[in-house]
């Protein structure tokens, strides 16, 4: 998916709760690419111009699983505390 599309998706899926600061999106994408978690391909966009499309790498998928597991742990811990309190 290309950069703009990613920003839109995040906004859509989170029902407009998360507004992506568009200026910090691209440096973040570049950082992830340098770390090898995503890979980029140049392709043709809808109006026949060049656009960069990003996809997850294998290492990226593994990292994603790890981050998801972390998030699960963290959120269930917070939920427990709030329940008890």
């Amino acid at each position: 998916m290309h950069g703009w599309g990613i920003a839109q998706r995040i906004q859509q899926v989170s029902k407009e709760v998360l507004q992506v600061q568009q200026g910090s999106l691209y440096p973040a994408l570049y950082r992830l690419e340098r770390k090898g978690l995503i890979q980029a391909e140049w392709g043709a966009s809808e109006n026949n111009r060049r656009a960069k499309y990003y996809s997850l790498t294998k290492a990226g998928r593994e990292q994603l699983q790890k981050e998801l597991a972390e998030w699960e742990r963290l959120s269930s811990a917070v939920a427990l505390i709030l329940q008890r309190a």
């Binding site: 290309h2 950069g3 703009w4 200026g23 691209y26 966009s45 111009r49």
Partner: protein
């Protein structure tokens, strides 16, 4: 490669631009789709993205290899800045070169001598093996050949154990006999060291047995001296009196073991009849451990072997214990402390140099404040600015380290000449490790020098900095720089105090009256072999005859022999027994034993206090030997009694007979000038060894008689060589060589530290004067006298110096305790030394402060105020 890098950068820029433009296009399309007008949509899209250049900068930071490019850019910028201030750059690089260079030189010595393993394959496996005999008072660790063979056969932790001893001999195949130092070695000698001859071969088994062919391996030095490096020397023969030996091998030039001046190695057959006694104490024993075995395990193993031998041979093996020490430790252990003190001093020097650089940087930073403020306002981050300032300092440190390597190379050479007597000096050289160390030093220097000024400069309070540089403020205070000056002075005072203490100690040593007269005395050796000791009578007659002959040489006032040189430190004490009277079991009679010919006291001008000296008479086996004791002995062990006529004996020693005391002589510090004279017993025996030291008192200059004496000796002993001819005073000053080296080095460091501190003081005061020009001009215009201005600045400089001196005295008092083992006649907190050090420092500081102070007063008030 540069082209590819350009290309990649260009591709990246293009890609980034296209991607961002694509983003804006899509956002514009979305905006239009939600009903905006086209140009409004585009503007909204651009605004939503944010500041495009800012986004691009952030993206560029994430590029691979970005930080490397930044570093390179910083270095290039830093180089340009440094080129613009050549004065500052030169001073800084020179200061760092001295600091880092001295550090590298000392480290190279420490590395070669203390840190590196011995220059043999797997040098850590080499061990020295010593024996202790519980019943013998004299602690000799030398081992009998038979025991070495037993150890080698019965142990399980060593690859091989071997032994050696050295002796001087005369090689007679030339016109004049030449003295050579010969090492007698047990089998497996070269195997233990792990070095093979560079030409020829090791000894064969036949040559290591009695009756086999006489073989010898020669050293590289002997080979070049005698045969000029001719490879056909292998197979030639050397003559030693009536027997000859064939050269079978030549060792490489780096093999200087067991001692530096060994010329040849010959096998000592373990099955020789004379080597069979278990009581012999001949060999210094070394061994090579098996891989993976520790010294402790080897020690335990040999202890077990020795107790087995003790059961087999109760006399003497049951009384003998074994000790295993790493060989390197026994060689360098003694100088370890000196070296670490040296390293500490040179690190202090580096610290002072760095402090100087910090002061310089702080001074310069205030000049660059404007530039930094502008960069901040353009959006630079604090880290970026600090990085750039650090890069400049790193360049300085790198240049300093490079220059410092040259300084270190020169210093190493000087050190090797000064310290020629220290162990392993020949192994010191500069190599990759030292270069790496210099680099590490420069990194440390960068951090020490650069971090504080960089962080201080990179302050974001723009208004303050801009206001300062506009010059509206009249005076600025820089307390940090003055603190640095005080720190430098404190460190310099510490070093100076240490050097001063060593100097006074050295002087005190020189003033000690030794109790004998060492001037106009020539010493030398005449070669003799231990084989002569089978006929002690003949040996003594020969030596007596030589002494008498020497006394009759014109220009010679007196001649004598002695077993050890007077004044050279030795710790040779024995327990004696006074045969008359009750033996006091509580108080043992311990004294030093000296073996001298009767003429010794006249030659050394030691006064006779009571009784008479020994008679010069032919040696006779039945007559009781004669001896003399010194005043200290008489006062300690025979107070109030007459010593003359009593007899002394060394219990358990068959070599030294009981002696009758003939007289008492004055106390002489023969055992070393630095030690108080203790009780000494002199046995009148002219030939305790086959080659004792000969002492000859000459009427004129001692060395002028050297050739005459050599020729005269050749007349009566044509087959013996005369060697080691030197005035006695030279030997005495040699024994101080380590003390002198320490003093010279520390003095040099102290002088450098003081000059660095003065440069720092001068620089800081100078800068203060420049910055406060306006203030001074104002005051002069308002009526202040020039003298007042000078005094004010002078006091500012002296004040910082005084503070530093006080702190330095405290530091010196704390650290000079480290030197206490090396001082003679002066305590570590000696008041005279400290006060003279403070006085010198204040004097030098006053001179350094005077120049800027006078310059301050020469300001023309009208000119300065007009420049507003």
């Amino acid at each position: 490669m540069r082209l590819r890098w350009f290309q990649r950068k260009h591709e990246f820029e293009q890609g980034m631009n296209e991607e961002l433009r694509d983003h804006i296009d899509r956002q514009t399309a979305a905006n239009i789709a939600s009903g905006m007008a086209p140009d409004l949509a585009r503007r909204q899209a651009t605004l939503q993205l944010g500041a495009v250049e800012g986004v691009k900068e952030d993206c560029r930071e994430e590029r691979r290899g970005f930080w490397l490019e930044t570093l390179w850019a910083n270095l290039r910028y830093g180089a340009r800045m440094l080129r613009r201030n050549p004065g500052f750059t030169a001073v800084a690089v020179l200061t760092l070169a001295i600091g880092i260079g001295a550090n590298s030189a000392v480290f190279s010595a420490i590395d070669a001598i203390l840190l590196r393993p011995l220059p043999f394959p797997n040098g850590n496996q080499l061990m020295k093996v010593m024996q202790h005999n519980r019943t013998v008072k004299r602690q000799l660790w030398f081992v009998a050949p038979v025991r070495v063979e037993d150890w080698n056969r019965m142990n399980s932790t060593f690859q091989a154990i071997t032994g050696y001893y050295t002796e001087d001999d005369s090689e007679t195949s030339g016109i004049l006999p030449e003295k050579v130092t010969r090492a007698f070695v047990a089998p497996r000698f070269l195997q233990v060291w792990g070095i093979a001859p560079v030409l020829g071969r090791d000894f064969s088994p036949e040559e290591e047995h009695v009756g086999g062919p006489n073989a010898v391996i020669i050293s590289d030095r002997f080979w070049r001296r005698r045969f000029g490096g001719d490879p056909s020397a292998v197979g030639k023969t050397l003559r030693f009196g009536e027997y000859s030996e064939t050269i079978v091998g030549i060792m490489p030039p780096s093999f200087l073991f067991p001692e530096r001046d060994v010329d040849l190695w010959v096998p000592a057959p373990p099955d020789a009849p004379v080597a069979q006694s278990r009581d012999n104490t001949w060999y210094t024993v070394i061994g090579r451990l098996k891989p993976g075995v520790t010294a402790a395990q080897a020690s335990a193993n040999l202890a077990a072997v020795q107790s087995q031998l003790g059961k087999q041979f109760p006399k003497p093996d049951a009384d003998i214990t074994v000790d295993v020490q790493p060989l390197k430790e026994t060689i360098v252990g003694g100088v370890r402390r000196s070296f670490w003190i040296l390293f500490g001093s040179v690190s202090l020097l580096l610290l002072i140099a760095c402090t100087n650089i910090v002061a310089l940087l702080l001074a310069r930073a205030s000049q660059r404040q404007h530039e930094i403020s502008v960069r901040f306002s353009l959006g630079a981050s604090r880290t970026a600015i600090v990085n750039q300032l650090l890069a400049e300092v790193f360049l300085l440190a790198l240049a300093g380290a490079a220059l410092g390597l040259i300084v270190a190379a020169a210093a190493s050479k000087v050190f090797r000449t000064l310290a020629a007597n220290l162990p392993r000096v020949e192994e010191i050289h500069l190599d990759a490790r030292i270069v790496l160390y210099s680099l590490a030093c420069s990194v440390v220097a960068t951090i020490l020098c650069g971090l504080f000024p960089a962080i201080r400069s990179a302050r974001k309070s723009i208004s303050i900095s801009l206001a300062q540089t506009s010059g509206r403020q009249v005076s600025t205070r820089n307390p940090v720089q003055w603190l640095l000056v005080s720190v430098q002075v404190a460190l310099a005072v510490t070093l100076l105090a240490g050097a001063g203490l060593l100097l006074r100690s050295f002087q005190a040593l020189g003033r000690v009256s030794p109790g004998f007269d060492a001037s106009h005395v020539l010493t030398f050796h005449i070669s003799g072999g231990w084989g002569e000791t089978v006929d002690m009578k003949g040996l003594t007659q020969r030596v007596d005859r030589t002494i008498e002959y020497l006394q009759n040489v014109p220009g010679v006032e007196a001649a004598a022999t002695t077993g050890a040189l007077p004044g050279v430190p030795s710790l040779y004490q024995t327990e004696l027994k006074i045969l008359e009277g009750r033996a006091d079991p509580e108080r043992k009679t311990i004294a030093e034993m000296w073996f001298v010919s009767p003429g010794y006291f006249a030659t050394m001008k030691i006064p006779l206090v009571a009784g008479e000296l020994c008679r010069e008479k032919p040696y006779s086996a039945n007559v009781v030997a004669e001896m003399v004791v010194n005043r200290s002995f008489a006062n300690t062990y025979l107070p109030g009694l007459t010593a003359v006529g009593r007899h002394l004996q060394v219990p358990g020693n068959t070599f030294v007979p009981a002696g009758e005391i003939r007289g008492i002589v004055g106390d002489a510090r023969e055992g070393g000038i630095a030690r108080e004279p203790g009780p000494v017993a002199y046995w009148c025996m002219s030939a305790p060894l086959p080659d004792p030291y000969y002492l000859v008192r000459t009427r004129t200059e001692p060395m002028a008689m050297a050739e005459t004496i050599r020729r005269k000796i050749h007349e009566i002993e044509p087959s013996r060589s005369v060697f080691d001819i030197a005035p006695l005073e030279e030997h005495l000053s040699d024994s101080f060589s380590e003390d002198r080296l320490r003093m010279v080095l520390l003095g040099f460091f102290a002088a450098t530290a003081v000059s660095l501190a003065c440069v720092g003081l001068y620089g800081t005061l100078s800068f203060s004067v420049t910055v406060r020009q306006r203030e001074v001009g104002l005051r002069l215009a308002l009526g202040a006298r020039r003298g007042q201005i000078v005094t004010q600045f002078l006091f500012q400089g002296m004040g910082a110096c005084l503070l530093g001196c006080v702190a330095g005295c405290g530091l010196a008092a704390a650290f000079s305790r480290l030197l206490s083992g090396m001082l003679y006649g002066v305590s570590p907190t000696d008041v005279v030394t400290l006060s003279s050090v403070v006085f010198i420092m204040l004097l030098v500081a006053a001179l350094a402060s005077l120049v800027p102070a006078i310059r301050a007063a020469r300001v023309e008030p009208m000119q300065v105020l007009r420049n507003e």
